[in-house]
C-alpha cells in the first residue's frame, strides 16, 4: 500500500473522530478507533513539524531544477 497523502490522513482522522463520537461502538472498537485516531494525529503533527523548508523547483526545458533562494 502506498503512503497516504496528508489530505487522506486528515480525512481519515475526521472520519475516525466522528465514528467514535457517534457512540455506536463497543468498548473494544472504541479503543481501536481511539488508538488509530491518536496515532494518525501524531503522524500528521510530526509530518508538519519535520518539514523545515519548502522545496522549490524551477521547471526548465531539461526538467526540474532546484530553485532555493
Amino acid at each position: 500500500m502506498t503512503e497516504k497523502t496528508f489530505e487522506e490522513k486528515m480525512d481519515k482522522l475526521e472520519t475516525l473522530v466522528k465514528q467514535l463520537e457517534s457512540g455506536n461502538n463497543t468498548l473494544d472498537e472504541s479503543v481501536k478507533l481511539y488508538q488509530e485516531g491518536i496515532s494518525l494525529a501524531k503522524e500528521c503533527h510530526q509530518e508538519l513539524q519535520t518539514a523545515e523548508k519548502t522545496i522549490v523547483s524551477l521547471k526548465t526545458e531539461t526538467g526540474l531544477e532546484d530553485f532555493s533562494k
Partner: protein, 422 residues
C-alpha cells in the same frame, strides 16, 4: 440711415444655428488633457479640455457619463468624441462629450470589454466550470516570472503557512508581446506534467499595458481548459483582468493567492489538537458509560443479594412441594381409606337404626296380634264349631247327619246333633 440692433438672445441663437449646421462640428474627435473636472450633484460632468496652448469647455451628461469605464480626474490624457454647440444663456460654446476614454489604453479598454462580454456569453465564467481547490495541496505550481516579486511572495507565504507542500515554478514572461504565448504554454506544460495539484497564475502590479497578457483570449481559454484548478493573481487589488473572471478562484495579489492556496499549519495543528481532544473525550465518555452500566449491573439485587433470589426460589419450592404432597398416592389412599371407614361407620349406624326400628315394629305387631288371638278369645268362653274341619258360622250350614266338633281353647268335644232349631 437707421442702424439695426440685435438682441443678445438673437445673436446667440444665430451663433448656435451656425454651429449646429456646420457638419465639421457635429462629430469631433479630440485628444486632450482634463482640467477643472467637476461632477455636478445631478451626475453631469463639467470639465475643461486643454493642450499646452489652448482650452475648451466640455460637458458630459449623466446618460453618457454612465458608460465611462474609468474615473476621470485632472491630468488624465483622454480621447473624446462629441459635438460642438452654443449654450445660449451664457453665450459660450462647448463640447458635448458622448464618449471619453483614457488616451493610449482606450482601444485596450474596448477590447477588454468586448472580450469579457463575449466570453461571458460563451459561459466561460460560469460557476459550474469552477474546479474546487485541494484542501491540502502536495505540490503547488506557480506560473509567473521567475525573477519577479510575485514568485518570491508566493514562496514566502507558502513557506510560512504550509512548508510541507512543494512548489514548482513554471517560468513565464508576464509582460510584452510574447507574454500571452508564454503563459499559455506553461499552463499546458503544467497540465501535461501532472505534478501539481493547483496552479497560481499571475504577476505583480503594473500598468494596464503591463497586465495586458491576462486579458488575452488565448490566456483565458487556456485557464478555462486547464484540468488543474487555477488561482489568478494579477496585479493589485484594484486590477481586474479577464483571467480573474475565468479562473477557478480569484486572488487580489500573488501573496493572497498563496494564502488561498494552502492551509495555515497553525490551523491544522489546532484541528489536530481538536481531533485528539475529541477522541479522548469520546473514549472516556464511552468508558464512563460502560462503568456506569457495570455499576448498575453489579448493584442490582442479583449480584448484591444473591440469597434473595434463592429465597424466593426456596419459597416457590416449598409451595410446589406442598402441592405435590397433596397429590401423593399414599395420601390419596389414606384419604380413600378414611372415606371407606366413614362409609362403614355410617352403614353400621344405619343398620343398627333400621334393626332397632324393626324390632320396635315387631313388638307392637305382636301385641296387636295378641289382641286378635282366637285362643285368647276362646279363653273367655268362646268356642269354634266345625263340621268336617270346616268352621260353621251359621245354623243353616249345619248338616244334621254329620257329627259336630266343638273346639275349646284347651281341647275338643265331639258331639251328636239332636235337633236343629232356627
Amino acid at each position: 440711415m437707421e442702424r439695426k440692433y440685435l438682441t443678445v438672445t438673437a445673436l446667440n441663437r444665430y451663433l448656435k444655428y451656425k454651429f449646429d449646421n456646420d457638419m465639421n462640428l457635429q462629430k469631433i474627435l479630440l485628444k486632450a488633457e482634463i482640467s477643472n473636472f467637476k461632477r455636478h450633484s445631478r451626475g453631469h460632468l463639467y470639465l475643461t479640455l486643454k493642450d499646452d496652448k489652448s482650452e475648451i469647455s466640455a460637458v458630459m451628461f449623466l446618460s453618457d457619463a454612465r458608460t465611462l469605464n474609468f474615473l476621470p480626474k485632472d491630468g488624465n490624457q483622454v480621447i473624446v468624441e462629441g459635438h460642438l454647440s452654443v449654450y445660449e444663456v451664457r453665450g459660450t460654446y462647448q463640447i458635448y462629450i458622448k464618449n471619453m476614454s483614457l488616451d493610449g489604453v482606450g482601444d485596450l479598454y474596448l477590447a477588454y470589454e468586448r472580450l469579457k462580454e463575449e466570453l461571458a456569453k460563451a459561459g466561460l465564467f460560469n460557476e459550474e466550470h469552477k474546479l474546487p481547490l485541494p484542501k491540502y495541496p502536495r505540490t503547488v505550481g506557480v506560473i509567473t516570472s521567475e525573477t519577479g516579486a510575485a514568485v518570491r511572495d508566493v514562496i514566502n507565504v507558502i513557506g510560512i503557512r504550509y512548508p510541507i507542500t512543494k512548489i514548482i515554478v513554471y517560468p513565464a514572461l508576464v509582460q510584452g508581446p510574447n507574454a500571452k504565448n508564454s503563459i499559455v504554454s506553461q499552463i499546458e506544460a503544467a497540465n501535461n506534467d501532472g505534478l501539481v495539484d493547483v496552479l497560481i497564475v499571475g504577476r505583480g502590479g503594473g500598468s494596464i499595458e503591463d497586465l495586458w497578457a491576462f486579458n488575452e483570449e488565448i490566456v483565458a481559454r487556456a485557464i478555462y481548459n486547464s484540468r488543474i484548478p487555477i488561482i489568478s493573481a494579477v496585479g493589485h487589488e484594484t486590477d481586474t483582468t479577464i483571467a480573474d473572471f475565468v479562473s477557478d478562484k480569484r486572488a487580489s495579489t500573488p501573496s493572497h493567492a498563496a494564502e488561498i492556496c494552502v492551509p495555515d499549519q497553525k490551523d491544522i495543528i489546532d484541528l489536530l489538537n481538536n481531533y485528539s481532544d475529541r477522541l479522548s473525550v469520546s473514549l472516556s465518555l464511552k468508558h464512563e458509560n460502560n462503568q456506569k452500566y457495570y455499576n448498575q449491573v453489579v448493584s442490582s439485587t442479583v449480584f448484591k443479594n444473591p440469597e434473595k433470589i434463592l429465597e424466593s426460589t426456596k419459597l416457590k419450592l416449598l409451595y410446589l412441594e406442598d402441592k405435590l404432597n397433596a397429590y401423593k398416592p399414599s395420601k390419596q389412599i389414606e384419604h380413600y381409606q378414611d372415606n371407606i371407614l366413614s362409609f362403614n361407620n355410617r352403614l353400621i349406624q344405619r343398620m343398627e337404626y333400621i334393626i332397632l326400628n324393626k324390632s320396635k315394629d315387631f313388638l307392637s305387631v305382636t301385641e296387636k296380634l295378641e289382641l286378635v288371638n282366637p285362643l285368647a278369645i276362646m279363653k273367655k268362653g268362646y268356642t269354634v264349631v266345625k263340621q268336617k274341619d270346616v268352621i260353621k258360622k251359621s245354623v243353616k250350614e249345619i248338616d244334621q247327619s254329620a257329627p259336630l266338633v266343638v273346639d275349646f281353647y284347651d281341647g275338643t268335644v265331639d258331639c251328636k246333633i239332636i235337633e236343629v232349631k232356627q
